[in-house]
Amino acid sequence: MARRVLKWLLFSVVIGAIPAAINGFLALVLSDPLDFSLLWNLSVLFGKGELLMLAVGLSANAVGDAVAKTGVSSTLRMSIIGVSFVMGLVAMAVFGIVKTLQATNEDFSGAAVAIASAIPYIVLILLNGAAIARSESRVR
């Protein structure tokens, strides 16, 4: 189980977050003088709703994984598929809302976008990881 979860974390989550790291690196390089605080600045890293796109990808991955798993009970599969699908829809809706709020409200900063997008992203990471772990433990 742990091996499968680690593999999923590495290839789906960490590699998926590389574009945000590149964002931070470019912001660091372009800053004059060099401002290392940009590397953990949420507004710079995820200020455009990147996490929500990753969240939609994770949701699709969770749904596909649950559909393909035959060793898990159908109730569990259906609940995982349903919740993942809902979370994908939530991520899409949040993306649309934060983009609109960003365009119309100056007070809605990149940090707020990052925080609003981090919640569905974290939830989907938990959900996807839990689904993988649960299916692995059930298969044995």
């Binding site: 809902v86 949040v94 609003a116 939830v123 959900l127 990881g129 772990a133």
Partner: protein, 178 residues
């Protein structure tokens, strides 16, 4: 106004996300529990044969248990085979009984048919004989009663060869040849 609606929608979506997050945490906890259970059960399975191997020279307790089960399984298989054979014999006997019954019924039906056919034939022959006798007597009456030769000749000419043959087969002779 629109912004406040969007903010409310965003808050609602966050609440939905948190609810889904709770579900994910529960799922994760279940998975961890199941994993722990799996690990404990598999460690028990590993420990038992190891303990047994320490006390004896046998390959392992699990293997010994499997080997000990072989004669029982063999006996169970033999019993199953014997039961199947008995079932087959029963079915064979039932089939033979059915075959015998069918043959018996067929023979009875054939005998009945033959009896009915013979009866019908006898009845038909009697009927034909009676009719021929009646026809012959009728002709004889006409022939003796009527002085008019032409009427008798006309009746004779109406007779066919078949009628004459039929009369002859019943022992009567043709009036002309009589």
């Amino acid at each position: 106004m629109v912004q406040s609606i969007l903010m409310v929608a965003l808050i609602l979506l966050m609440i939905v996300s948190v609810a889904c997050g709770v579900y994910a945490v529960v799922l994760l906890k279940q998975a961890l529990d199941a994993e722990k259970k799996n690990q404990s059960s598999s460690s028990e399975l590993v420990e038992e044969p190891t303990r047994a191997a320490q006390h004896s020279d046998a390959p392992s307790a699990r293997n010994r248990v499997k080997v000990e089960k072989v004669p029982q399984m063999y006996e169970a298989s033999l019993l199953e085979v014997a039961e199947t054979q008995s079932n087959i014999a029963d079915a064979h006997r039932a089939l033979e009984d059915t075959h015998r019954e069918v043959r018996h019924q067929t023979a009875a039906a054939i005998a009945e048919l033959q009896r009915v056919a013979a009866e019908t034939q006898i009845n038909a022959e009697e009927e034909a004989s009676k009719r021929v006798s009646e026809e012959f007597s009728q002709y004889g009456e006409v022939r003796t009663r009527s002085p008019n030769i032409s009427e008798a000749e006309e009746l004779e000419s109406s007779l066919t060869q078949k009628d004459v043959d039929r009369w002859a087969s019943r022992g009567h002779r043709h009036p002309q040849t009589a």
